[in-house]
Subunit: 141 residues, 2 copies
Amino acid sequence: MGTEMKVTVGGLRGKMQLTGKGHTGHEVQIDYIPPLGEDNGLMSLELLMVSLASCSAHTVLSILRKMGKTVEDVTVNAAGDRQMDAHPTVITAIELQFELKGNGLDAPSVERAIMLSEETYCPVWAMLKNSVAVSWNYSIG
Amino acid sequence: MGTEMKVTVGGLRGKMQLTGKGHTGHEVQIDYIPPLGEDNGLMSLELLMVSLASCSAHTVLSILRKMGKTVEDVTVNAAGDRQMDAHPTVITAIELQFELKGNGLDAPSVERAIMLSEETYCPVWAMLKNSVAVSWNYSIG
């Protein structure tokens, strides 16, 4: 059993600015660094990192809520190493830094939520981990 | 030789709405389908597909321009099959449909540009092809 997902990218402006859309009315502006692009949006590789950071944030949030925890805010900072000396210029490693705020959040629960996201619940993490070395750390406060 | 890329996701609102940012001031709103989320943004898996669609669009555009072609517009529609019967609910297959408009665009050039993107130039495609079966087709008009 599966479900179909559809997105569209188009509306070329400037050198290579594009607009991306999913199933809602929300849009994302996409561009590339100069001189090929004009920096009028997120780069495709940044979107890939935002996808991983938000997917892991969502799954950690859901797992902590199922544990009965209250999460007031979650930030995920992602830092990636992009290989530039040969094509394709892939990201070879990503570090995810989780910053969690909430009442009663403790280290064992947060660690367990991140490990469950990595191993079982975050589909983007599962799709990338064969290609990218993903490491993580966290802070509670 | 490499370069570091940084993105951030945070600013939790509603059930799980988040804001994503790259190195420019541009933002993307991220959410999830109800009942877990409230559909106030793109889903993480949609962002992954937008990343692949825009990366392939950018590389096809650059290659066609290097061939001396003028591209007036490019649209990439991406359709993904998401596995829903077990975690992680990954996308197992993506079909990319390229729609190109421009003067003097011909089938051999467009096919060669897409094949070079797939095999050599699109980093997102390279990072996903071990996990996802990616197929493509195109139209010129």
